[in-house]
């Protein structure tokens, strides 16, 4: 909301500098986004009139001009070709500055003295919107009859300071100069002067010209209208154009400008119909018919539906209510009789209509916030008053006002003690009452009741009153206190949160860096990681209004984002990378039954570079160790289509599948532009949480020495290390302390299809030193077990 200070000054005396005003209003709740000083960078540029033009004696393309600048005549050499004698033009005098820091000084052009510069619109940083002709190439030709010598900023209406406010959605009353004047008056503690609205002369009765019927009062609680005859369409006067421009609205003609002026001043959107094109001179406010169409003012054909409210005449729609007028009743240069509409439409109806039609207009964005139903009469009276002031037509007597159900006023109980208790303040009740009154609330001090004006729908209960008091008292005067801890709470993380911390810490200690990835993705990613067409994972939560196909579903797998991360890094020539992501996948449940999806936390690991399967597996083993999970194992996984069939394993915790770890399938590597030897793992975080054991029980250090034995054996290739270890465990008895694999060998001296495996086995007892005999017995059992169960050949 742009508010020119000069306009604000009409209703309130501003006794501080613009910056101070901006600060004060920001701190009382109207946030100033910018303070723009119009024409700030233009100085010493005046209106000049060209008295003579002669060819430059030494240059074909230059002209020498004598220019009247009021207090004398100066000689200016110019290259412009679009000027003639008698033109009014902007002249930058010697010592002037122009936008962009340009300074004008005295000089000679090809031997002829030049004491200034004629300016183009561009040189003054003006556009066609600011002044007609400003967008054209060449010197800006001003309108005739300006005062020669006048500062150009005054002549062009550039001497104002404009505050741009961010108005929150609950305060439509502040979307008006008068509303901001009210805030200003209370903030600065100065009186508010409202404009005096009255019409001097009225002719004929409005009812002779038009009638109004509201068929859907639920969507249009009030419709007020007045008629003006003998209209003369012409540009509005400079003061009005300057105001509109400063507020960011382009002047069009006197009638349209008046509707815009009233909207800005009082916050009530207005519309003017050419009554000649309103069939039967009848305004009907109704829901649109099925498949009804209208061509709006922007020349677009709009298809309407029965939820939308239109303004119609006896035959057809002439406007989409609260959104935009129709081209069929537009104000033209020939318009003679007009009807000013000043109506109150249902905010949500306007909002839905504007959204469906994809046309959010200044009017619709105001209506949808819910406007003051009591403001329509004021606004329409103000409009005809301006018609009279501008001599734009003759005002007809009377107002058409359809207002079937008068809105009730809200009265709120007000307890100063309770409010102070709530705010943590000790503000005098007089101060509170004064704030309310200055905001035009009515206060009944006997009953302690505050009645809220109709333009403040946001104030509904005592907490709202407390905010009004607090913001004018000053939020920053509220004393900072600490919670009085009558019932203290224990701040701590849940077990799951602790496990998540531990997971992250373990990952980082193992050299993996944490990544953050998007949780929505494209349906294309399933093919990228070879997920079969009939997989459950392809059943997803679909976003109905996504930013694009790439972000259209909630992910059910985290592999694609990890691969994308690896791809980005690999393609940027980063040789090696280790990453982890602790995030959710979203698995749909029965949404028809209104169930939300399962949001399953997943730990995803990704590595590439000088890395093999056993490194990523090692990270998982460290993780198990750190979380106190002992009952886990890895089992070969040959048929996960995303992974290499011979280099992938299930992670089984407590007998249940809890994750996958392996080398990515070469085809997947290719599709995702990652190295062939890329290793990924996904782990179900809840399985980790469920099986973690963070309690620590100290175990006594051993008192007796350990005995260790080395064995080496030949086994068939397909025998897994796990089988060997299980066998050793099974046969070595209670005294087994540790098994350590120290060599696997294939090649010379080892027959084809076999491998040589060597272990170091440690035995120890808690209560005695083991004898050779004991250890020898255990070893014999182990060796026999290996021979019998796994067909192992022992090597000497």
């Amino acid at each position: 909301m742009k508010v020119p200070i000069s306009w604000l000054n009409d209703y309130v005396d501003i006794n501080v500098k613009p910056e101070e005003l901006a600060d004060a209003l920001t701190m009382s709740g109207s946030k100033v986004e910018s303070v723009e000083k119009l024409g700030e960078d233009i100085s010493n540029v005046v209106v000049g009139k060209i008295i003579s033009l002669e060819k430059h004696p030494n240059a074909d393309k230059l002209q020498v001009s004598q220019v009247d600048i009021g207090r004398g005549t100066i000689q200016v050499v110019t290259g412009a070709q679009n000027i003639s004698v008698g033109d009014y033009i902007p002249v930058a005098l010697v010592g002037s500055t122009l936008p962009g820091g340009v300074k004008i000084s005295k000089g000679k052009l090809r031997g002829i003295e030049s004491n200034g510069m004629m300016c183009s619109g561009k040189e003054l940083n003006l556009t066609e919107e600011d002044y007609p002709g400003a967008g054209e190439y060449g010197i800006l030709i001003l309108e005739n009859g300006l005062t020669v010598g006048q500062d150009i900023k005054e002549a062009l209406g550039l001497s104002d300071t404009v505050l741009d406010f961010e108005i929150t959605s609950n305060r439509p009353d502040c979307l008006s100069i008068l509303g901001m004047a009210r805030e200003t008056a209370v903030t600065l503690g100065v009186p508010l002067r409202k404009p005096e609205i009255k019409v001097e002369k009225e002719e004929d009765d409005v009812n002779e010209y038009a009638s109004v019927e509201v068929r859907d009062p639920d969507l249009c609680p009030r419709y007020s209208a007045r008629v003006v005859k003998d209209v003369k369409i012409e540009p509005s006067p400079k003061w009005m154009r300057d105001r509109l421009k400063a507020a960011g609205v382009r002047p069009i003609n006197n009638i349209v400008d008046i509707t815009n002026f009233v909207m800005l001043e009082l916050g009530q959107p207005m519309h003017a119909f050419d009554l000649e094109y309103v069939k039967s001179k009848k305004i009907v406010v109704r829901r649109a018919y099925e498949n009804e169409t209208i061509k709006t003012l922007d020349d677009q054909d709009r298809k309407l539906d029965t939820d939308m409210l239109v303004i119609a005449d006896g035959e057809r729609a002439v406007a989409v209510a609260g959104v935009m007028g129709g081209a069929n009743s537009e104000i033209l240069d020939t318009t003679k009789t007009i009807l000013f509409e000043s109506a109150n439409f249902s905010g949500s109806s306007v909002r839905i209509t504007a959204k469906k039609l994809g046309m959010r207009t200044e009017a619709s964005s105001r209506f949808e916030k819910g406007l003051d139903v009591e403001n329509t009469i004021n606004a329409v009276d103000r409009a005809v008053q301006l018609v009279e002031m501008l001599g734009a037509g003759k005002v007809c007597k009377g107002i058409i006002d359809c207002y079937p159900r008068k809105a009730e006023k809200k009265a709120i109980k007000f307890r100063p003690d309770r409010m102070n208790q709530f705010l943590g303040t000790s503000i005098e009740s007089d101060f509170m009452v004064n704030v309310f009154r200055r905001l035009e609330f009515t206060v009944d001090e006997k009953q302690m009741l505050v009645t809220v004006p109709s333009f403040r729908p946001d104030v509904e209960r005592e907490a709202d009153l407390a905010e009004e008091v607090a913001r004018f008292y000053g939020y920053n005067k509220i004393e900072a206190t600490l919670l009085s801890g009558k019932s203290s709470t224990l701040g701590r993380k849940t077990f799951k949160q602790k496990i998540e911390d531990k997971i992250k810490n373990t990952m980082m200690a193992c050299g993996l860096s944490e990544i953050y990835t998007y949780s929505f993705t494209s349906t294309k990613v399933f093919d990228l990681v070879n997920i079969p067409a009939d997989s459950q994972l392809r059943k997803t939560i679909v976003i109905s209004n996504p930013l694009g196909e790439d972000y259209s579903i909630m992910r059910t797998t985290t592999l694609p984002e990890m691969l994308e991360t690896i791809s980005i890094n690999y393609n940027r020539r980063i040789e090696e990378g280790r990453f982890f992501d602790l995030a959710h996948v979203y698995l749909p449940k029965d949404t028809n039954a209104g169930e939300l999806p399962e949001e399953k936390p997943v730990l995803t690991l990704g590595m590439y570079g000088n890395i093999d399967f056993y490194e990523i597996k090692g990270v998982l083993e460290e993780l198990m160790d750190n979380l106190g999970i002992t009952n886990y194992e890895f089992q070969p996984l040959k048929d996960n289509p995303s992974f290499h069939p011979g280099r992938t394993a299930y992670l089984i915790i407590n007998g249940k599948n809890a994750g996958v770890v392996g080398e990515i399938h070469p085809e997947v590597a290719e599709k995702n532009e990652v190295p062939q030897r890329t290793y990924l793992s996904t782990v179900d975080v809840l399985a980790l949480v469920e099986n973690s054991n963070l309690s620590v029980n100290y175990k006594a250090l051993p008192k007796y020495p350990a005995v260790s034995r080395d064995i080496a054996m030949l086994v068939k290739d397909e025998i897994l290390v796990k089988q060997i270890e299980d066998t050793i465990r099974q046969y070595s008895g209670k005294i087994l302390e540790n098994i350590k694999l120290f060599d696997i060998y294939k090649g010379k001296q080892v027959p084809d299809g076999m491998k040589s495996i060597a272990y170091n086995i440690t035995f120890r007892a808690d209560d005695r030193t083991l004898t050779d005999e004991e250890v020898g017995k255990a070893m014999n059992k182990v060796l026999n077990g290996l021979k019998n169960n796994l067909d192992a050949q022992l090597r000497e």
């Binding site: 959605s169 920053n476 919670l483 009558k486 860096s513 953050y516 939560i541």
Partner: protein, 358 residues
């Protein structure tokens, strides 16, 4: 008078003592000279044997003591002991000298280039968003808050309606929301966790809810359709707006430094009343104005307010008995401010050269 005086060999006897004394002194001088010239441990051992060994020179001198009288023996004996002791000390000294010089030689041989880079373990790094979220979480854990969590795919009721944002409320436009269907959204704020907590727990409630939220903003240097918020909620008897101010002051000091100040500006949120936007004094210039704060001295970091009575009522909490405050901060903006990150996209791109800086 000693009987030996009667002996005619008296003088030859005197000579024998003299001779032994001379021999001992010679051994002493000779050994001293030889010891000072020794350069290796083995040589030293040889010398020890030579002078002090069983067949050594000192021993052979002492063997002649048998020919001395009982009065003479202690004299020579004492001298011999002195010489032995002297030699033993000298040998010990020489040994120390040799060990030292040998050790020094070894040390000199073992010199390495200490400027060669060390052998490092690769440590992983925590994502800057996690760093910020963890720091904020720590501050509030210390003040007795619990960490609450809730779903990201959320019912419209929790995300909007219970927060005093009915259907078609203009505030819904401010946060362009992703919808799954009419009643399910991707949460546009972490506030639904507050509703869920208030509906399932009785006051006193002190929680913070860090989490991922979604808004339909196209990706650019300052916007992302996915981002993270940390919200806080306190509900109890007698909670005041002054308590909110005090809590936010501590929070700002904890996150932005001991000298940080805060400033509250009135604002509007549908779920709080009164509502405020909260600025912190610029962490780069301390409030005097600089590029970071666009010369304002303040940087907006939070939204906050007193929980709206309608929201309390919706959660079955009587606003005449209880009151509360809530606040919310964006993790991305905080991280960008803290670490001087100029493009939000970096946070989701995961370039290792970026990640490893944290």
């Amino acid at each position: 008078m000693p009987s030996s005086f009667k002996d005619e060999g008296f003088f030859s006897h005197i000579r024998r003592i003299e001779k032994m004394r001379d021999q001992l002194n010679n051994i002493k001088t000779q050994a001293e000279n030889e010891l000072s010239a020794v350069t290796a441990i083995q040589e030293l051992e040889n010398l020890r044997v030579k002078f002090l060994g069983k067949k050594g020179e000192l021993t052979s001198v002492l063997r002649g003591m048998g020919s001395l009288s009982a009065e003479e023996r202690p004299v020579i004996g004492q001298l011999a002991n002195e010489v032995r002791e002297f030699l033993e000390n000298k040998i010990e000294e020489a040994k120390k000298r040799l060990v030292n010089s040998e050790r020094n030689k070894k040390l000199a041989d073992e010199v390495i280039d200490v400027t060669i880079p060390g052998k490092r373990k690769i440590l992983g790094t925590k994502h800057p968003l996690s760093i910020v979220i963890d720091e904020i979480t720590e501050i509030f854990l210390g003040m007795g808050y619990e960490i609450a969590e809730g779903p990201e795919v959320e019912k419209d009721y929790y995300n909007f309606e219970a927060l005093n944002i009915p259907k078609n409320h203009p505030a819904r436009d401010v946060q362009d929301t992703f919808y799954i269907n009419e009643n399910v959204v991707l949460r546009s704020q972490t506030s639904p966790v507050q509703i869920r907590t208030m509906q399932s727990k009785k006051p006193p409630i002190k929680i913070i809810c860090p989490g991922r939220v979604y808004r339909s903003d196209a990706v650019d240097a300052t916007h992302s359709p996915i981002f993270h918020q940390i919200e806080g909620l306190v509900v109890d008897k007698g909670v005041t707006m002054g308590d909110l101010v005090g809590t936010l002051e501590i929070f700002a000091k904890g996150l932005f430094g001991e000298n940080s100040k805060i400033r509250l500006r009135p604002h509007h949120f549908p779920f709080t009343e009164p509502s405020a936007e909260v600025d912190v004094s610029c962490w780069a210039c301390g409030g005097t104005g600089c590029r970071v704060c666009k010369n304002e001295g303040w940087i907006e970091i939070l939204g906050a307010g007193m929980v709206h009575p309608k929201v309390l009522e919706e959660c079955g909490i009587d606003p005449d008995v209880y009151s509360g405050f809530a606040f919310g901060i964006g993790a991305e903006r905080t991280a960008m401010g803290r670490f001087n990150i100029d493009d939000l996209r970096l946070l989701y791109e995961n370039d290792l050269r970026f990640l490893r800086q944290f």
